[in-house]
Subunit: 466 residues, 2 copies
C-alpha cells in the first residue's frame, strides 16, 4: 500500500477550511490531552486534532484524508483502556466532542437519537427525567462518550441483567473513509434485512467508519433496588458463589467481584470507610432491582442462602441511598486507585462464569511464576474479570522483558476456559499481539477482509485490532 | 465470474464418496420435499440433496463445490417464509437434518452446545427438563431447526421480552465455502475482541458460511404466567394500546396482534371455539410471566387500565393451561389457515411500535387502491406486523402484474415510518428486489463486499438477499 502522508501545510489549510480555524489544534500543548487515553502510560501525539461540528464536516474531513492518505484516529472521551483512541501513526485525530447533542427522546417508542459525543451519564440522567432507563453504565460513565461505548462494545456492572451497549443500539449513521454517509439499519427492535451492519459496527473500534448518530433503545425504569456486599475468606469461594446465584434462578442487576487488596487501596486513595475484617479476602457487590419490595426481599433471602453455602462470612445490606453510593464508590474508584498506586497493566479477560475460580487461581499461580502481583475485580456475573498486573517490586527490566510471557499465559488460560481476550475494553493497540492465541488465521483473515471492504486504503484507526 | 457448473456424474460420485450412498438424493420424487419451503407456492428443484453427518463432511462437500463451482443451498427444516432455502440456481442442497444432536447442556454456565439440525421445540423441552428456558419460539417451533433460526435471525412471540435468537447465540462453528472450519467467537456473555463475526452470521441466511455448531445462552425459567385476550372495535385502537402498555412500564412476555378475519379463518380451519362478538375487529393476545403472582396480578391490573383507555371492549383471562393453549393455538394456526384459504403473499414489516396504527391503516388504503385484501397479525410489541396479502377475488392477471407496485407502496410506507422490510423472516429470494427501497447503494455495496470476503466465488446460497 501507498505509505501514509504527513499532514502538510496545504492539507492543514484544507482541514481548517472544513472545520473552522477555532476547531483545529496543532500546538504541542493543545495536543497533549489527545496524546493519551486511560491505557497504562502510553503517549502518541497526533499531528493535528480536528473537532468537527456535524456529519457533513466529518464526511468532508474523511474524504480529504482518503485523498491524501492521512491516517485518521476517531476519538471519544479518551477513557479507553486498550489504546483504541491513540494516534499510533500520527495523522489526524477526529474528536467527536462537539457532536454532543441529544437530538430527541421518543417516549412513544422508547428510543433516543443522539450524537456520539454525548457523555454517557448525561444521557442516563436525561432519560431518567422521563422515567426511563438507559442501563449501560461503564465505570467511566461520568466522562466517557456514547460513541466510544458503541465503538468498544462497552458493558459495565448492569450488563449482567441488561446487556451491553450492543443490546441498545438500534441504528447508526456512519461515515465511511471515502466520505459516504449511510445508516446501518432501521429504528426497529427486530431486524432481519440482510447482514446486520449495526451489530458489525459495535465493537469495531473506529476501524470501519466514524459513527455520527446513534439510535438507542430505552426501557422502563425499575422503582426499587437492593444492594449488598458479601465477604469471603477466599477468591475461589466468592467466584464459586457467583454461578450459584444464577443457578438459583436469580438475575441480579449487578454482581461485582473485588479482591481485598483493591479495597485496601481504595480506602487509602479515597478515604472511604468500609470495615475490612481480618481474614476476608474477597467480596461480592450484589444489586437487585425491580418494582416489588416483596419480590426483592425474597430474592435477597435466596441469595443469602447461596452465599452461606459458599462460605460467606458476612453480608452487609446498604440501608440508605448514601450507603449504596458509598459501596458503589468502592467499586468505581478501584481502577483509579490501582493506577495511582503502581505502574500496572490491565487485562480484560472474560470466561464462562463457572470458570472464574479456575481463572483467578491460575492468575495468582502465573503471578508467582513470573514475580508479579495482581489485583482482580470485575463483572463476575458476566465472567468478566479485570486483572490489574502491578509492577510493585518487579524490576524494570523484568517488567519490560518477562511480563509479556506471563500475560500470554493468562490469555492462554482464559482461552482454555472457553473465554477470550476482551469482554468490554476492546483489543485496540495493546492487546492485538495476543489475538492469534484465540483466533485462527482463517478468523483473522475474515476480519481483515471486512476491514478492507469498509476501508480499502486502511486510513481509519490503523494499527488497531490486527 | 465463471458460470456455475452442473453436478456431473463425476462430481456426484465425489459427493457420494464423502457422505455415503444412503445420504445423497437425486430422484425427482426424493427431491420434491426439498424443492419448496413455506414461501408462497414457489418450486425450485436442486440437482442433488446431500445429508452430511458431521462438520468434516460439510467441509469436504464445500471444498468440492468450490473446486467445481457448484452452487450450494444450505437447508434447515424448510419452514422459511422468504425463500431462503430454495435452490434457485439448482446445484447441491446441503441439508442439516442429520446434524441434529444436542451435544451438551451446561447447567453451571447456563449454556448449551447443539448442532444446527435440532428442532427448536425439542431443544426448548430438553432444557425445560433442567428448569431452564430457551425463549426463542417462532410459530414453526415444532418443526423449524435452530440453525435456520440463527441463519434468519428468527424471533417469535416472546422476543418482545426475551429478544430474538440474536440475543442467545454466543458462538458458532462455521464452515467457509473453501472448507475451512472456524469458530466465530467465544462462549462468553460479553465479547469485545474484534469484529463480532457471531453477530454477523446471525441473519446472514446461509450466504456467508454453513453453521455446524451453535453455543446458546439459557436463562432461568419463570414459574408463572398470565394470558389474556383483549378485543377492540378497530385495528387502530388495538395498535395504539400496544405502545401504551410499554409506556405504562410493563414488559409483557408476548404481545400479539390479530385481525378479526384471521380469527374467523382459524375457526373454520381448525374448529377452535372462540366467541367473536359482532363489532370486534382486532385483538391483542397478551402474556405476562414471572415468579410472583402478586406482581403478575398488579401488572394485569395496570394493563387493563391501559386497554380501557384505548377502547377495549372485553378482556378474556385464560383460567387454565388448557385455555391458554387454545388461545395460543389461534395465533399459531393463523399462518396455516390463511394459507389454506387463498393464494397469498406474506410481508414481514417492522416499524417502531408507535407507528403500528399508521402502518395498518396505510396497508388497508393501499389494498383498496390495488384491489387486494389483507389479513394482518404479528408481534405487535416489537412493531413487527405480518401482512398477508390475499388473492381472493383479484384476477390472476392483476395478481401477477399489479401487486408488486402495491407491495412496493407497503414497504415505502414501512420505511417512511422508520422501519424496514423484514423483522424476522429474512430477505431471501422474494424480498430482495425491494432492498433498494430502504438501503442505499453504499449500504448494499458494503453487504456485497462482506459476502465476497466470506464467499469469493459466490457459491453459497446464490440469488439471495441481493
Amino acid at each position: 500500500m501507498i505509505p501514509f502522508s504527513p499532514i502538510t501545510e496545504d492539507i492543514l489549510a484544507e482541514i481548517t477550511a472544513i472545520a473552522g480555524p477555532g476547531y483545529v489544534l496543532c500546538g504541542r500543548e493543545e495536543l497533549e490531552p489527545f496524546a493519551h487515553d486511560e491505557t497504562e502510560d502510553l503517549r502518541f501525539f497526533p499531528e493535528v486534532v480536528v473537532r468537527p461540528a456535524d456529519t457533513a464536516q466529518v464526511s468532508a474531513l474523511l474524504r480529504l484524508c482518503t485523498k491524501h492518505r492521512v491516517p485518521v484516529t476517531p476519538r471519544g472521551a479518551g477513557t479507553g483502556l486498550s489504546g483504541g483512541a491513540l494516534a499510533v501513526n500520527g495523522g489526524l485525530m477526529l474528536s467527536t466532542d462537539r457532536l454532543n447533542k441529544i437530538i430527541s427522546i421518543d417516549t412513544q417508542n422508547l428510543q433516543a437519537l443522539v450524537e456520539p459525543g454525548v457523555i454517557t451519564e448525561v444521557f442516563m440522567n436525561e432519560v431518567a427525567g422521563y422515567g426511563l432507563l438507559y442501563p449501560v453504565d461503564p465505570s467511566s460513565k461520568g466522562s466517557c462518550f456514547l460513541g466510544g461505548n458503541v465503538a468498544h462494545g462497552s458493558g459495565g456492572p448492569r450488563a449482567v441483567k441488561y446487556g451491553t451497549v450492543r443490546e441498545y443500539v438500534l441504528n447508526l449513521e456512519i461515515v465511511l473513509p471515502d466520505g459516504e454517509v449511510t445508516w446501518t439499519g432501521a429504528n426497529t427492535l427486530k431486524y432481519a434485512s440482510g447482514y446486520n451492519l449495526t451489530q458489525l459496527m459495535v465493537g469495531s473500534e473506529g476501524t470501519l467508519a466514524v459513527i455520527t448518530k446513534i439510535v438507542l433503545k430505552l426501557i422502563a425504569r425499575p422503582a426499587l433496588n437492593v444492594l449488598m456486599m458479601a465477604s469471603f475468606l477466599s477468591n475461589e469461594q466468592a467466584c464459586a458463589a457467583v454461578s450459584g446465584i444464577f443457578r438459583a434462578g436469580i438475575l441480579p442487576s449487578a454482581l461485582e467481584f473485588m479482591e481485598r487488596k483493591g479495597i485496601e487501596w481504595v480506602k487509602v486513595f479515597d478515604h472511604i470507610s468500609f470495615p475490612l475484617k481480618p481474614g476476608d479476602q474477597a467480596f461480592l457487590l450484589i444489586e437487585l432491582d425491580g418494582n416489588d419490595s416483596g419480590v426483592l426481599f425474597g430474592e435477597s433471602e435466596k441469595i443469602n442462602e447461596v452465599l452461606e453455602l459458599h462460605g460467606c462470612t458476612d453480608v452487609l445490606f446498604a440501608d440508605s441511598s448514601v450507603q449504596k453510593e458509598e459501596l458503589w464508590k468502592i467499586r468505581r474508584t478501584m481502577p483509579l486507585s490501582v493506577k495511582s498506586n503502581s505502574i500496572y497493566k490491565e487485562e480484560d479477560t472474560v470466561v464462562p462464569r463457572a470458570g472464574l475460580p479456575q481463572l483467578i487461581n491460575g492468575v495468582k499461580e502465573i503471578g508467582n511464576k513470573y514475580g508479579f502481583e495482581s489485583v482482580c475485580y470485575g463483572h463476575a456475573g458476566d465472567g468478566n474479570l479485570h486483572i490489574n498486573i502491578i509492577r510493585g517490586g518487579m524490576s524494570e527490566d523484568a517488567w519490560n522483558t518477562k511480563l509479556k510471557a506471563g500475560i500470554r499465559e493468562i490469555f492462554e488460560l482464559t482461552v482454555s476456559l472457553g473465554g477470550t481476550i476482551s469482554g468490554e475494553h476492546g483489543i485496540g493497540y495493546v492487546q492485538k499481539e495476543y489475538m492469534p492465541l484465540k483466533y485462527s488465521a482463517t478468523h483473522l483473515a475474515l476480519m481483515k477482509g471486512i476491514k478492507a471492504v469498509f476501508d480499502p486504503q486502511g486510513i481509519l484507526n490503523p494499527g488497531k485490532i490486527f
